[in-house]
Amino acid sequence: MKPARPLFFSLIAAAAVAVTFTLAGAQASSPLAEPKSEKQAGFPAALYSWVIPPDNPQTPAKVALGKALFFDDRLSADDKVSCDHCHAPAKGFTDQLPTSMGIRAQFGQRNAPSILNAVFNVAQFWDGRAPTLEAQVAGPVTNPVEMGMKSTDDAVAKIKAIPEYRKQFQDVFGHDVTFADIERAIAAYERTQVAFDSPFDKFIGGDSSAISDSAKRGFSIFNGKGRCMSCHAWNPTQPLFTDQKFHNIGVSAHKSDFVPLARKALDVLAKSGGNPQEIDKLAIGSDMSGLGRFLVTKQPHDIGAFRTMSLRNLLVTQPYFHDGSQVTLWDTIDHYNKGGVQNPYLDGGIVPLGLTEAEEDDLVAFLASLTSPEYADAAKQEYDLQFKRSRTDRPQRDTAAASGEKGLGPGLTGPFGDIGPPQTSENPALLGGD
């Protein structure tokens, strides 16, 4: 895998290095890094109580220890890459890079997923290769292109050598440092990062003026013509905007020939035994990354499939998709609007949508309304940037495919049906609930 990296990419990367190094201390003390209040509009209290594992209850001391570890560069081989290097609170707990940079300026193959609301994920990472927040810790810590520790034992030895940590682990867990406890502490801190309270949550709570008319039209398209709701599922008890499943939407079909790549992956996994560390290495550091969920399940229906991400705070977690390949929300919607990129494993729900320009604008307005208050300013800035860019630069736009004038299949051209129905002037989101 040797993609030509565009110049702007390198510039962003360089800027990110500078920012991380100068702000590392400031990040930990930023209010955005603090555990979040549960008093947020739309906070799913019942759901939250169910997803806290009984064998790792939340305590303030454990959360504080987890926070210290989360922001500690010493968890990496070269003492320069902490968790927040790629999951920075100011950037919605991402790095806002297409794919993340680890030790010695090495880039992985995946876009950093946000920690915000990760507590609710049924599995972690883009391909769900770790079942819990605890189980995912070893991945980045020992991955050679991320934090680069040789083993979890090395990480334990390093933390043990720091007297303050020894005492803290003794206080919280009643014994000396173990990797399982490092995992528990970091997971406990991550479980405090819940983000709701958005204008949309207030709108659903009954404040009809909380979002704009454009966002209301967008919500209607989200549930209807845009078909977004079928994967980015939302309801009041699970207000997460994800079905927690894995779908091939054709993102890596741009650059991967899936079948030979899948065969290669099976060979590699058969030789190496396919343990979690091996899968982690393939996912982050090889051209097989684009196979997604397949690396975990080895089932053909999971080829090129990635987890449905939540849509909350999208305007501070750009760029989009597992490889960070889309710069703006308009590009992302354009990808869906044209029916994704055709490949044999494309999910059945990915069809041309026939969204007009105005409808795309409304959808973005709706997505912007999913921003939590602490990110309102940053999101506004990003919205303006993306809006401006979207007026001139639309690499994914394919109006003929989106409107169904161009068909798929051998030798087939011409109009197809099954485009989303036209929106009626009566918008269900504006009609009220009775």
Partner: protein, 382 residues
């Protein structure tokens, strides 16, 4: 009548109650046993998935231990694939089914090694129009392996097979393949209900395409074709494995939906003298298998939509697939492969597009469920 035909909903609620009652009565030890069994099944499933593009499973299946005990061996094992029930509309009307058909073709083309041939299981078209059949012909032209065509009622009843036969030849035929005698039947003849009613071709087609109507007759192979079949098989030694393709199941499953062949018993009687008989049928769009006497039956998956199981008549050997996810267009759909073993029996792999593949071994059917039971799905089948 009312007591015999329970609604799908009623059946579902009864099954659910039974399961819940069962769970309540489990003691701790039994519960742990159930848990261990299900965990084991899951592990076994994920360890050896029969990949569509890696025929490890086929290589393993070939030298099956049952080969020596079945009393008959000799022909080389082989694999063929199938695509079935694409139900294509004209391309101006519907893209979904076109995409699904294209996907199936890409799927069988990705098989390595390639299957000996690809059977098309019938219902290429939805309303029997020439344009629909022609679209299907174009899509199937992309299949790399040789294609064997079978006709379904959706292909036939607009012009009584005119366009279909022009494109694909006679609807029933036979051939020999690596020591196996293969018969393709046209099993969806109906008695003339249209002439007395002065129906247009379109009305006739729409009537046949409907469910739960008393106007059309039941499917049948018919007198003439049964005679043809008997004559065709007269030349074949009874020790030769038989592979029979029919669009409708060659047994009686559910009459109201024409999941049914009216002269099934007579056809079965013709097949009875043979030692190994496998019938592969389309039409039912679900995982479905059955054993009647010496005959093993496997239903094929559709690429267009999955049918729910009928309210009654389901063969007891069938382990039901669970309900398709309504948000997932490809769930419950797929294509598949059949491994014809050295002993003349056939294992079936259901290559479900959005689920893990399921292998049904002939041993399960011929033992009447005593061995090799396929894994049950996690959820209820409703």
């Amino acid at each position: 009548m009312a007591a015999r035909h329970k609604s799908v909903e009623t059946k579902y609620m009864e099954d659910r109650d039974a399961v819940l009652r069962g769970l309540r009565s489990l003691d701790r030890r039994t519960f742990l046993k159930v848990l261990a069994a299900t965990t084991g099944a899951v592990m076994a499933k994920s360890l050896m998935p029969p990949h569509s593009f890696q025929l490890v499973e086929v290589a393993n299946a070939a030298p099956d231990k049952t080969a020596s005990t079945a009393g008959m061996a000799g022909q080389p094992p082989f694999t063929f694939a199938y695509v079935s029930d694409t139900h294509l509309y004209q391309r101006t009307l519907n893209q979904r089914f076109v995409r699904a058909a294209v996907k199936a073709v890409e799927d069988v083309n990705a098989l390595d090694p390639q299957p000996d041939f690809v059977l098309f299981g019938g219902d290429l078209a939805q309303l029997g129009r020439r344009e629909e059949l022609d679209l299907g012909r174009q899509i199937l032209a992309e299949v790399k392996a040789p294609v064997k065509m079978m006709v379904g009622e959706h292909d036939w009843f607009y012009d009584l097979g005119g366009a279909w036969q022009e494109m694909f030849g006679p609807p029933n035929y036979s051939f020999d393949w690596k020591g196996v005698h293969v018969v393709v039947l046209m099993s969806v003849h109906e008695k003339d209900f249209w002439t007395p009613r002065n129906m247009t071709p379109e009305q006739r087609m729409h009537t046949v395409a409907g469910l739960d109507n008393g106007v059309q007759s039941r499917f049948e192979v018919g007198d003439d074709e049964r005679k043809w079949l008997a004559a065709d098989l007269a030349k074949v030694p009874h020790t030769t494995p038989l592979l029979v393709f029919s669009h409708s199941p060659l047994y009686k499953y559910y009459r109201n939906w024409n999941f049914w062949t009216d002269d099934a018993e007579q056809v079965q009687a013709i097949l009875k003298p043979f030692q190994q008989v496998t019938v592969i049928h389309g039409h039912t769009h679900q995982m479905l298998y059955n054993q009647i006497g010496n005959i093993s039956f496997y239903g094929m998956l559709s690429t267009a939509w999955p049918w729910p199981y009928a309210p009654s008549g389901l063969p007891p050997l069938t382990v039901q697939m669970n309900r398709a996810d309504p948000f997932d267009q490809f769930d419950g759909l797929g294509d598949g492969r059949i491994n014809v073993r050295a002993d003349g029996l056939a294992d079936k792999i259901y290559s479900l597009w959005d689920r893990n593949p399921v292998t049904v071994k002939a041993d399960y059917l011929v033992s009447h469920g005593k061995t090799a039971r396929p894994p049950a799905p996690q959820f209820a089948s409703y």
